[in-house]
């Protein structure tokens, strides 16, 4: 034999009486000490129990003990009139140990050969938090969190867990809240905190968001008028918003909703050694920063049309047909702008300028005439002609072209190709005339 290294007790196991399922021998005094890891109960379930029945289990018995105290003494079998059979109900130990003691007398009845017992046990997590309070007070002074096989104590905001891992001590400086929404309250709220509290809460969310503080109605900070006319001289809640004058609050009236228009707010709660304040509680929420309405673009469209434009919203500008996007004198293919955390659009709106198709291609042995429009702009109409009578349009093609949205001069037949002048053959301008017959 050699020494096995220390290891965690098993989480489950099986025990049975000697020689089971053969009848147990007489004169037995057998003990089993069961244990599971700390933080767990033991649940013992009998799969079979057949011990000589007697009143009070006087002769043969299986006794289940915890910490020296008997949880049960069992004998008999399922259908026996005498004895004390545990039935199907499991036995739960108050702690992580359990002792079973099996005792038999000198003789066994001749008619019925009792086979003893067989049982399974397993570790069951203890909900330490729901255990009744002990003389030393509650398990955790503020918040108890049950974990598998154990528990944890925790404290409300403004308090810190002491080294005993059970009780809490006031400590409310350095609380930084970065979630987009949340709840905070003064230490011990709604109960008065200990005296001389100096707590600081910083709510800081991402740029582009503004904070709204919504104080609950139950607001109480001692308010005393002083001869010097100081406002909130001893107890106060100071709300500091960057670039604004700090706001000192006290009294019994909740300030209700405060829109800060800032992504950072600092709350300093102060009480002195005298007086009593129940404190305050608030829910905070965030809203995206608003950008100004983007305005309108002549000969264009701004989309999407929203009732308000908020941080990270995008807008797009598209020009009407026949117009092009221009910014800083340059044409751009597309335009989008995003509402920045500063509440400003990251780009100014572009303009829509009418497109032009450029100078129409000159026509060899012909020319081009403007019929309508201005400077080759969208929907201008031109007409090609050939130098008649020596040239004519090929195929009698339509000579009228319109400046279309695709910046091409297109004929009514949707052709882009400009016409061609073909020579007129065999038609002299002067005829040989001979009148003599």
């Amino acid at each position: 034999c050699w020494h096995l290294p220390d290891s965690e007790p098993p989480m489950h196991g099986h025990i049975q009486s000697p020689q089971y399922p053969q009848p147990y021998p007489p004169n037995l005094q057998e003990q089993w000490d069961l244990s599971v890891p700390e933080g767990y109960h033991i649940r013992l379930t009998f799969t079979h129990l057949d011990i000589e029945a007697s009143a009070g289990c006087h002769y043969d018995a299986l006794t289940v003990l915890y910490d020296g105290k008997a949880l049960g003494k069992f004998c008999g079998h399922e259908n026996s009139a005498d004895g004390n059979h545990p039935g199907n109900q499991p036995i739960l130990s108050p702690g992580n140990t359990l002792t079973l003691l099996f005792q038999t007398d000198k003789s066994n009845p001749e008619r019925h050969q009792n086979v003893g017992f067989s049982a399974e046990y397993q570790a069951i997590d203890i909900d330490e938090c729901s255990a009744p309070e002990t003389e030393d007070g509650p398990l955790c002074s503020q918040i108890c969190l049950n974990t598998v096989g154990s528990y944890l104590c925790s404290c409300h905001h403004g308090f810190e867990l002491r080294s005993d891992q059970r009780t809490c001590v006031l400590s409310c400086t350095g609380g930084i809240f970065e979630e987009p929404e949340g709840h905070l309250s003064s230490p011990g709220y709604p109960n008065p905190p200990p005296h001389a509290v100096t707590c600081q809460y910083i709510i800081s969310v991402e740029f582009g968001f503004t904070l709204s503080l919504n104080f609950t109605d139950n607001f109480h900070i001692e308010s005393l008028d002083t001869a010097e006319g100081l406002n909130c001289p001893y107890h106060w809640l100071k709300i500091t918003i960057p670039n604004e004058k700090p706001m000192k609050l006290c009294g019994g009236k909740s300030p209700g909703l405060i829109s800060t228009h800032s992504n950072t707010v600092t709350l300093d709660y102060h009480t002195d050694n005298d007086g009593q304040s129940s404190g305050w509680s608030l829910d905070y929420s965030t809203h995206r920063v608003k950008c100004p309405f983007p305005g309108k673009v002549a000969k264009g469209r701004v989309t999407p049309v929203l009732s308000e434009y908020l941080y990270r919203d995008h807008i797009f500008v598209r020009c009407d047909q026949g117009y092009k996007l221009m910014t800083n004198g340059k044409e751009i293919k597309s335009f989008s702008a995003v509402c920045q955390s500063s509440g400003q659009w990251h780009l100014p709106l572009p303009e829509c300028h009418i497109i032009d198709c450029g100078k129409p291609k000159p026509l060899l042995n012909g020319g081009v005439t403007f019929l309508s429009g201005f400077q080759n702009q969208y929907l201008s109409v031109i007409q090609y002609h050939c130098n008649e009578p020596f040239y004519s349009l090929l195929g009698g093609m339509t000579a009228e072209f319109t400046c279309e949205a695709d910046r091409n001069w297109r004929s009514n037949n949707n052709l882009v190709v400009s016409p061609t002048c073909i020579p007129v053959c065999g038609k002299p301008t002067k005829q040989i005339s001979a009148y003599q017959r």
Partner: protein, 248 residues
């Protein structure tokens, strides 16, 4: 031109005077870079003349004025089947000259239309022949500097053939008449094309629009009784003309 008249300005605007190796020939404008003429104008002694040797004049009716503005040839194209080493075979007598620069058409320079495919030439159909070739002044033949024209009817192919056969009786060497040729003229003579007119146009007017029916090719004498002028039948070569122009 025998028996003709001087052409007023702008009445035959497709007329071209070709000077090839110093010899005078005719031609007609068919496109802004192309002149249609006779193969024999462009081929001498079995050799196709170089493009550098070709000068084209057009737009005026007086040679003296024409000389001021010759147009240079870019290339010369003779029908591939033209083979006339001895001056006795004028079959396929057709050729093209491509100009170096395109011409802009106006009242004095205008292309002549080409005939449609399968155009028929009816006997008696009047044509207009023009050129700067030999003419008559009294009984003498002279070379004129003025563009002249004469109107001639198309002669029945059999009558023409007979006149050629007749000519062969009195002359040793007379070319053969083929179906790529037709004759025009009057049996009594006195009206004809002549030397120097070769390559020039024989045009026919339909509803005021002239088309090139023939190219002045050859003949036995000029304007003699019982002889006719022989012209290349252009309608047989429309495909070749178009193909040559497209390929070049």
């Amino acid at each position: 031109i025998i028996g003709g008249k001087e052409a007023p300005d702008d009445t035959i605007p497709w007329q071209v005077l070709l000077s090839v190796d110093g010899q005078r020939g005719g031609g007609m404008v068919i496109a802004d870079r192309w002149i249609l003429t006779a193969a024999h104008v462009l081929k001498h002694n079995g050799n196709i003349t170089s493009s550098e040797a070709v000068r084209a004049y057009m737009g005026l009716t007086n040679v003296k004025a024409l000389q001021l503005s010759p147009l240079n040839a870019a290339s010369v194209h003779v029908h591939p089947e033209y083979n006339n080493p001895n001056g006795l075979n004028y079959d396929h007598d057709i050729g093209l000259v491509k100009l170096q620069e395109p011409v802009t058409f106006n009242s004095s320079i205008m292309p002549i239309c080409l005939p449609g495919e399968g155009t028929t030439y009816t006997t008696g159909m009047m044509g207009l022949v023009s050129g700067f070739g030999l003419t008559e002044e009294g009984r003498r033949r002279i070379l004129t500097n003025k563009l002249k024209y004469v109107q001639l009817p198309v002669v029945e192919q059999e009558a023409c053939s007979n006149s050629v056969t007749l000519a062969k009786r009195t002359r040793d060497y007379v070319p053969n008449l083929t179906n790529n040729m037709f004759c025009a003229g009057v049996p009594e003579g006195g009206k004809d094309s002549c030397q120097g007119d070769s390559g020039g146009p024989f045009t026919v007017s339909d509803d005021g629009q002239f088309w090139a029916a023939g190219i002045v090719s050859w003949g036995v004498d000029c304007g003699q009784q019982g002889t006719y002028g022989v012209y290349t039948r252009v309608s047989n070569y429309v495909d070749w003309i178009n193909k040559t122009m497209q390929e070049n």
